[in-house]
Symmetry: C2
Subunit: 341 residues, 2 copies
């Protein structure tokens, strides 16, 4: 349990992202988290790098009902402070928190407050001696198992685990191998996946391949971009894998020499306008008469562009011809009708 949210044990796969405001700026951080909530985020992580950030946590906690996790490095007192501020989880790397006694203190506080602990085993922060004697995947897995054992021995019973590399294949292999020997819930992600463009590619294949194998209880798509896009990307991935049904899926054809309309522009405009709507609907934007009517028929709503306009399809049947300038507004109006039924 992360607060009131179940992670693992058959619960729906939840979506995480991380604030990138200064945590010490409570107002800005609260505003960003409210945006995440509206976009469909389930769990929010904040880094707490210093005393000023810690001071802001109670105000943030009071304002936000979503489960909150504090990301802590180096200083165990910050972890204990976050737990005492009512955060639902702390993410620590037991290897960099200053020794066994500090880990014990964090564990004691977490048990007392029912706070979850996420063990983050990242290739970038695995101990050097492990890396010298193991390949990368074995080192990540061994580090995670060591840290989990440490917490288990201290009586912590609310653990989730992440095993991350910026290499997609290493990430997939690390999760598979850890899952073969441990039942703790998994937080899945490809770390430092990159820009919006390459990060979407790497995260989607890495996280998606694991989800297809049934691995992964909560996910974060890491992007060097606006974290709101991480939430939308995660919803898109979960919808694509039939694990969540709260996204309007815009089917759109790539354009080719046969295309009549500005398919890309129409699709982008519609997708942006409906991003925060939580509904299970497929809308097809097609550029021509070859695949257009077929795809439009399979969608709840569809347009197949023709010269000077488009044919609107509703639930598989041609409804009426519309002009080019009406396409976007007609789709949005029809979506509104569908979702307000």
């Amino acid at each position: 349990m992360v607060g009131k949210l179940a992670v693992g044990g058959g619960a729906p796969v939840s979506i995480q992202t991380m604030t990138n405001t200064l945590t010490s700026d409570a107002a800005a951080t609260i505003k960003q988290i409210e945006g995440f909530a509206a976009a469909g985020c389930d769990i929010v992580r904040l880094s707490v790098p210093d005393e000023a950030s810690l001071q802001a946590l109670p105000e943030i906690r009071r304002a936000i009902s979503l489960p909150l996790i504090a990301d802590i490095h180096f200083n165990h007192k910050l972890a204990i402070g976050a737990i005492e501020a009512g955060f639902d989880g702390v993410r620590i790397n037991p290897g960099n928190i200053g020794g066994a006694e500090n880990v014990r203190e964090v564990a004691r506080a977490a048990i007392a407050h029912g706070t979850a602990i996420r063990v983050g085993s990242n290739l970038g922060s695995v101990k050097r001696e492990l890396l010298e004697t193991h390949d990368n995947v074995s080192a990540i897995v061994a580090s995670a198992l060591d840290n989990v054992k440490l917490l288990e021995d201290l009586g912590v019973a609310n653990i989730k685990v992440a095993l991350k590399s910026s290499d997609v294949l290493e990430t997939i292999q690390a999760y598979r191998r850890f899952a073969a020997v441990s039942d703790w819930p998994l937080h899945v992600g490809v770390t430092e996946a990159g820009t919006l463009f390459s990060g979407l590619v790497r995260s989607s294949v890495g996280i998606g391949a694991l989800l297809l194998e049934g691995l992964g209880d909560t996910i974060r798509i890491s992007l060097s971009d606006d974290p709101l896009k991480e939430v939308l990307a995660a919803r898109t991935l979960l919808e694509a894998l039939d694990l969540r049904h709260d996204l309007i899926h815009v089917v759109a054809c790539p354009t080719c020499a046969r295309s009549c309309g500005d398919v890309a522009g129409i699709a982008r405009e519609v997708e942006a306008a409906v991003a925060n709507i939580k509904a299970n609907l497929t809308v097809a934007v097609m550029g021509c008469i070859v695949n257009g009517p077929g795809e439009a028929r399979h969608a709840d709503l569809g347009v197949a562009c023709e010269k000077n306009g488009a044919m609107l399809f509703k639930h598989g049947e041609p409804a009426r011809r519309i002009t080019t300038t009406e396409i976007v507004s007609t789709i949005l109006t029809e979506i509104e009708k569908e979702t307000s039924l």
Copy 2:
């Protein structure tokens, strides 16, 4: 074989995209294809919807050495014309080309010229009677098998097959089931995957999951956007899965409250500048001192941002401090040194 390029039989996975110029405008089409070639594309498809497009094919063929495929619907004479113009492949849907005699004529021409035929079985163009008696996946697979059998019976020995749905899970299931009963090479893609944003997510997980299982001989990432981005996305996916090693991989952290520099901006600028360079190199752009030095150590080149600058890492060792304004130019200069060795 698609021209001189092997597809299947253990050949490297090749990358395809499709022009979206008017094919009848030979100059514009040639220019677009030259851009694809520079970006790392292996095979280019053009739609040939009419006689004017057909007339332009000889000029395009003379100018381009990459394998070229003509995408044909409805009119078998266009397919025969493309074959006679020296195109390396035709993509047809035997179900919409006007009957068995027309398919036979196309097959005869393809055999005579050594031209490959791609059978495209798309959910959007599967026969209605198949859809009425089968679930979607079975209908796509049955349609592909029927069409392949038709061509095999006509003596065609140079076939590849695509089985596409705009639904990611249906796509994955269709390829798995077809591959279980047929050895023909597979052209893999998720059709009408959507805008750049959602198309990258859907295509990466759909195509990537199949590639991880060893399925897929040539791929197209379909995006409602500039087709050049399809090529770069395909290279990114193949690099992520260790199937191609000609891309500079920019590792970049998502920003958080700990970040010092404009990681996203730096990473985007570097990624754009090196997109067309064919080299196997990892460059890490990291925002802080937590994971920064660790990741930067694993990369060929790396920067870990600090206040007012960054530490440059080369092959795992700290090299020197640089100022904020020097970060991008220093990375690009160092990449140039590495790739000109």
